[in-house]
């Protein structure tokens, strides 16, 4: 849904993250939610109430629409998590399960 502007920081190193199982390059310092918006297609979660598809809305930590699964940890606010090399970013599908 978003793409890098051509004039975007040619000097900034890229980080490789795994979005929906696919390795992609994103700018260093960007958020997991931004990575999803670049490479994740449409929705980034389904709601625990009705299963409706949602995607990041406010990008400033308020709306909790960008809840996603990051490195296996469910319900993370993707807009507040900065990408790291090798980070796995997946949609949050409904309620999180229970980890042993």
């Amino acid at each position: 849904m978003f793409k890098l502007l051509p004039e975007s920081n040619p000097l900034a190193p890229a980080v490789t993250v795994v979005v929906n199982g696919r390795s992609v390059a994103v700018p260093q310092g960007c958020s997991a939610a931004a990575a999803m918006l670049m490479h994740g297609g449409g929705s980034t979660r389904t709601t625990p109430v009705s299963g409706e598809a949602r995607a990041p809305y406010c990008m400033m930590g308020l709306c909790y629409e960008c809840l996603m699964e990051i490195d296996g940890e469910p319900n993370q606010q993707g807009c507040l998590v900065i990408v790291r090399e090798g980070m796995h970013i997946n949609p949050q599908l409904g309620k999180p399960g229970v980890k042993p």
């Binding site: 975007s8 700018p27 310092g29 960007c30 990008m59 709306c63 507040l80």
Partner: protein, 473 residues
């Protein structure tokens, strides 16, 4: 950690307060949710200025104005804790936070003698049919992506709503070569605002800037619809088209993305959670804390500065932060009253001018009733719990529900993870309209800590005494 003044938020108000308070001799800790200081308005400014000069041009001088403020902040003696989510402020001066570093939550407590809440503004929601679809975001979100990561909307998009940010974002995207397909303006009342124009004349630069933005947008020859009376975003799994009405005529635009905006209101959950006195501001159509000129609240411990205390804009917020930082220093005995007066004089003057200018802008873009209290019954107002406008109206009318807390408890509206941030004002407006009362009479959700999602593991690890005497079966 012990400190004189804990400041929550590293936007213009928080940064200025840190600078003035440290200069006046206080020990200061600044806690902020973001990885770098600047708040939303100056988000990522330093990296961006160093690496993306073209973007700095597009974003404009009001954004670049953050650079000197940040320089001063780095030079000041404040301790800065980035990526720290503050989830509770106690009246004993304890500030509880969780640092979101390397995905390993660590909780901590700052013990402060005074606490300054400078959590800034948030966009007022614009609940319209379809606004929960993927592909619909706020204008602030688009601007954040531009500032933080150099990302621009991909595909065809429109901006809809009202307020200065709507126009600013349009101009920024035009400059970046990614103009919107159309701008749909929902609230604008020049004649209503006109009586407030004299207050605006104290800041002639702002008027000129506003006119400049409009000129840029006009020059780009974009369809600019003023006086939109109906908005609906359609699509199944994501936004595909936006339908709207102007002067009784219907239009449809195909879209990949829609950006909504309806002005800004205080980002108030932290201040509300401290139970300091708030009141309804009818011009800005929001609740705001009751503050004196230096940001002191009804609690001796808690102060509020910047947009979190009522919208004043970035420069006004910085001025208010400066005054609040000095007032904290004076209250803690670090400077005397005369010293406070002389140091705060310039910032107070600036703040007065910015305050005087607000009513014109507030009135010019004051949301029309239909956009704050949706008439379409199926419009979702609580995005977390998927509660619809019609459900709220029906419950309030059928069960003689007196206010938002009863409503919330009966239907879970506002009980999801966002804790009412995105539905609170809409709920109040709907209840007020249904009951024939004013929002001031209706009141707001009672907000309780933790206002950020700490885990039970974090809470169990918190360094406070246990109370097994009060907790056992």
């Amino acid at each position: 950690m012990q400190t004189d003044l804990a400041i929550i938020g590293a936007g213009p108000a928080g940064l200025s307060a840190a600078i003035s308070a440290t200069a006046a001799g206080l020990k200061v800790v600044v806690l902020d949710e973001q990885p770098v200081p600047g708040g939303q308005i100056y988000r990522n400014i330093e990296t961006l200025a160093a690496t993306r000069p073209a973007h700095l041009q597009w974003l404009g001088p009001d954004y670049a104005a953050g650079l000197p403020l940040l320089r001063h902040f780095h030079e000041c003696a404040a301790t800065y804790l980035p990526m720290a989510q503050v989830w509770q402020v106690g009246h004993d001066g304890r500030v509880y936070y969780r640092r979101n570093v390397a995905n390993e939550g660590a909780v901590g407590i700052v013990h402060a003698r005074k606490v300054l809440i400078a959590t800034g503004a948030m966009e007022r929601p614009l609940p319209v049919p379809g606004w929960t679809l993927p592909g619909v975001m706020s204008c602030g979100a688009a601007q954040t992506l531009l500032k933080a990561s150099g990302l621009a909307p991909d595909g065809r998009f429109v901006l809809a709503g009202s307020g200065p940010l709507l126009l600013l974002l349009a101009a920024q995207l035009i400059r970046a070569g990614r103009p919107p397909a159309a701008i749909l303006e929902t609230s604008y009342d020049f004649w209503g605002a006109l009586p407030h124009l004299p207050g605006m004349l104290g800041l002639p630069g702002y008027l000129l800037k506003g006119l400049g933005l409009l000129r840029e947008i006009r020059a780009a020859a974009l369809p600019f619809y003023r006086g939109v009376t109906r908005l609906e975003i359609k699509g199944r799994e994501r936004a595909r088209e936006i339908e709207f009405e102007v002067d009784g005529r219907s239009f449809i635009e195909a879209v990949d993305l829609v950006f909504l905006h309806q002005g800004v209101v205080p980002n108030g959950n932290l201040a509300l959670s401290t139970d300091i006195r708030h009141h309804w501001d009818d011009l800005q159509k929001c609740f705001r804390p009751e503050l004196d000129a230096a940001g002191r609240s009804s609690s001796d411990m808690v102060r509020v500065a910047g947009d979190a205390g009522g919208i004043v804009g970035a420069v006004g917020a910085a001025a208010m932060g400066e005054v609040a930082g000095l007032a904290a220093a004076a209250d803690l005995g670090s400077i005397d009253a005369a010293e406070f007066e002389s140091r705060a004089a310039a910032a107070r003057q600036l703040l007065t001018r910015h305050r005087a200018a607000r009513p014109f802008l507030d009135r010019l873009y004051r949301p029309r009733q239909q956009w704050v209290a949706p008439t379409d019954p199926d419009t979702v107002i609580c995005r977390c719990e998927e509660i619809r406008a019609g459900d709220v109206r029906h419950l309030v009318a059928a069960q003689n529900c007196p206010g938002p807390n009863q409503m919330k408890s009966f239907m879970r509206c506002g009980m999801g993870p966002c804790q009412g941030r995105l539905c609170g004002l809409t709920a109040v407006e709907l209840i007020a309209e249904t009951r024939g009362q004013t929002p001031a009479e209706i009141g707001y959700y009672r907000i309780r800590a933790p206002i950020k999602p700490v885990t039970l593991g974090d809470m169990a690890a918190l360094d406070v005494p246990s109370r097994h005497d009060a907790v056992n079966p």
